[in-house]
């Protein structure tokens, strides 16, 4: 291992990155865009969902109920309609996610003490949202109903404090249940996968494609020097991007950061080794840049996106998928990120994630070193 040769390869690689606009965009602009995109664009919170109402009763009571819907942060009454077809149209064209219909005899029946039903027509195309909507709507109606009962009891001189049990919830770690706090830390894993695996997957394949490899392997440079020299600049870039993304998360999106920055850097370095080695390995075996980039996206970016727990909770996946996530390095990194950001878990308690990550890093690093030979096929 000659430091001069390692440095020569690394310097060459840096110059090439700096002169390639596409690489520069991926390195500098893409991480920022990804963080902003996921910070703003992807919100798992359901707030201000558009609903239409059709009040067939038009009484004081029906207005009271509907005001409660309006008061809830989850709903936004965008229009009051006067017939069913208007409601159906709104659901069809997506202007409303739900329609609330108050029956014409609402106040009358309330007065009689009989059971009253309010109709909710829900757009079920997105079942997740639909379920949440129904839940929220039920909560609003239930609240209204229990207040009515309390009022009735009070007005009839019954004991004013009927025994009632309620759950007082207190949410830890993500007190405001902001989905940006849940998502943004995970974006780091996505960024690392792109920088690490995608960009490095091109490096070896590019040299073969452009015909520079043949001359390179005829020099005394060793395959280890080539590998380390090529990966070092991407490692530096990856660490730089981790810091940039973390700062945007903390200072722009106000994601709580409770752990130690050092732990963040160490675990990020570990994950970087994993993706860099993987990218290098892909580059060696793929042969062409096109194949390499496709393989890299398929085996790093997609799993990091879908199966790492970044957006979708692993516990809620089918058991088979849960098993598959165990062989995904991104899963462990995302888990570390969430714990460091939101919980402030000390490094010593992260072993369940850090140990597999280290094992992946070691195995893939060895695999990458072994894969490349200074030989023509």
């Amino acid at each position: 291992m000659s430091f001069t040769r390692f440095l020569a390869v690394a310097r060459k690689e840096v110059v090439q990155i700096l002169r390639d606009t596409r690489s520069l965009i991926i390195v500098v602009i893409m991480p920022v865009i990804l963080v902003l995109l996921f910070g703003y664009g992807v919100s798992l919170d359901l707030k201000g969902l558009p609903i239409f109402v059709y009040d067939r009763d038009g009484s004081q009571q029906s207005q009271d109920l509907l005001k409660r819907f309006q008061a809830s942060a989850y709903f936004d009454i965008v229009r009051v309609v006067n017939d069913y077809p208007a409601l159906t149209r709104a659901l069809d064209d997506g202007h409303a996610r739900m329609g609330i219909v108050v029956p014409w005899d609402f106040s009358e029946r309330l007065h009689d003490g009989g059971p009253v039903q309010v109709q909710a027509l829900v757009d079920g195309t997105d079942d997740n949202t639909a379920n949440v909507l129904i839940g929220y709507a039920q909560a609003v109606v239930q609240g209204y109903s229990s207040d009515l009962q309390l009022d009735w009891l009070r007005n009839h001189d019954q004991p004013a404090q009927p025994a009632s049990v309620s759950v007082e919830t207190r949410t830890w770690y993500n007190e405001d249940l902001e989905s940006s706090a849940f998502i943004v830390p995970g974006v780091l894993a996505l960024v690392m996968s792109v920088i690490g695996a995608f960009l490095t997957s091109l490096t070896i394949a590019r040299e073969w494609e452009r015909g520079t490899m043949e001359q390179l392997i005829s020099t005394p440079v060793t395959s280890l020097e080539i590998m380390l020299g090529k990966l070092a600049p991407y490692f530096a870039i990856g660490m730089f991007d981790v810091i940039v993304c973390a700062l945007i998360a903390i200072y722009w999106f106000q994601v709580p950061f409770r752990g130690s920055f050092l732990t963040l850097l160490i675990s990020s370095a570990m994950f970087l080794v994993v993706v860099l080695a993987l990218g290098f390995f892909i580059s060696v075996i793929a042969g062409s840049q096109l194949a390499a980039s496709q393989i890299a996206l398929l085996i790093t970016f997609l799993p990091a996106f879908l199966l790492s727990g970044f957006l979708f909770s692993i516990e809620q996946m089918p058991v088979v998928l849960q098993w598959i996530t165990r062989i995904l390095p991104a899963r462990y990194y995302v888990s570390v990120l969430k714990k460091i950001f939101l919980k402030g878990t000390p490094a010593a308690l992260l072993y369940a994630d850090l140990v597999p990550l280290t094992v992946f890093a070691l195995v893939l690093a060895v695999l990458a070193t072994r894969a490349f030979h200074k030989r023509l096929a």
Binding site: R5, K12, R19, T212, S218, T219, P220, V221
Partner: protein, 317 residues
């Protein structure tokens, strides 16, 4: 060159097969220090494969080879410190400047900065490229690229240089610069093995080896090879080369015959005797022709003769 001159490259029985084709078939030759040795042959003759095996980047199936005293088959990395290989396809980085490429290769060969600067200044001067140091390699002309390749290959003062068709697609001026540098290196004791598809260029080499379909037909100095023809080469100038060929193809005393732009080149056993015979034959057939003259044989004549007669027979086995 003396016989005591050390053999810088020794190839013995080098053999390499690819699926369906034997690219190099038991090839043996040696190149002495200070010698320019040409590998001549058409595309697919096995020139590139031979050079790759000697450069230590492709292991042979059979045979041994040493370069600069190192066994390239068993210790390719040791040999790589002392050799330079220029692949046929431009192998430098087009997005790096001339200077950056020189520095990169200088560093890979462990050349010290002061040595590199002195040596590259001198080489760039010889190549007529001094004012292009800051230019991106990709923006150089074909000839300039090849000369840059040579400069990068020479900064570490290798004992052996392997060049794969270095002057293909190179303009005549750059080609002349290129050969001047090669002669200069040879006089310094560097062993140069170069392949070429240009037979006229082969005549500039000290010795040439003729390759055809993986087999080394023979190897000698251009002068000796020409002498081997022993016979004569006749040039037939005619406005109907094909007609002349059809007439002469089966004439007595012909060992090979090839169409040229303005007629035929015919290798014959006895020039003095055959000229009048051919003239008579063409006249009888009413084929128009200007003259039949004896010419100095070129390597091309030699090559075609070697391939079409004698040794050529076994090639199609």
């Amino acid at each position: 060159m003396t016989d005591q001159a050390q053999a810088a490259i020794v190839a013995e029985g080098l053999t390499k097969s690819f699926p369906g084709v034997r690219a190099v078939d038991h090839s043996s030759f040696d190149v002495r220090s200070g010698e320019i040795f040409g590998l001549v042959g058409p595309d697919g003759a096995g020139k590139t494969t031979t050079l790759r095996m000697l450069a230590g980047i492709m292991p042979p199936d059979e045979g041994t080879a040493s370069v600069g005293g190192f066994d390239v088959v068993h210790d390719p990395e040791g040999a790589k410190h002392h050799l330079s290989y220029m692949p046929q396809r431009f192998g430098l980085y087009e997005d790096l400047t001339v200077d950056e490429n020189i520095r990169f290769y200088g560093d890979l060969f462990g050349v010290r900065k002061t040595d590199r600067e002195e040596r590259s200044a001198q080489l760039l001067q010889a190549a007529g490229m001094r004012e292009f140091r800051k230019r991106l390699a990709g923006k150089l002309s074909g000839g300039m690229k090849q000369k840059l390749g040579l400069v990068c290959a020479l900064t570490h003062r290798p004992k052996v240089i392997l060049l794969d068709e270095p002057t293909t697609g190179v303009d005549p001026v750059s080609r002349r610069d290129f050969w001047r540098i090669l002669y200069e290196l040879a006089s310094e004791g560097v062993a140069i093995l170069t392949s070429t598809a240009y037979l006229d260029e082969a005549e500039r080499c000290h010795r040439v080896a003729l390759l055809h379909q993986g087999k080394l037909l023979f190897c000698d100095t251009p002068a000796n090879l020409k002498a081997k023809l022993g016979k004569g080469v006749l040039s037939v100038t005619s406005s109907d080369p094909r007609g002349s060929r059809d007439q002469l193809e089966h004439a007595a005393g012909i060992s090979s015959l090839v169409l040229t732009g303005d007629g035929l080149h015919v290798v014959v056993d006895d020039a003095g005797r055959r000229i009048p015979e051919f003239e008579a034959r063409l006249k009888d057939a009413h084929i128009p022709f200007d003259a039949i003259q004896q010419v100095t044989p070129t390597i091309e004549d030699l090559f075609i003769d070697a391939v079409s007669s004698g040794s050529g027979a076994s090639l199609h086995a």
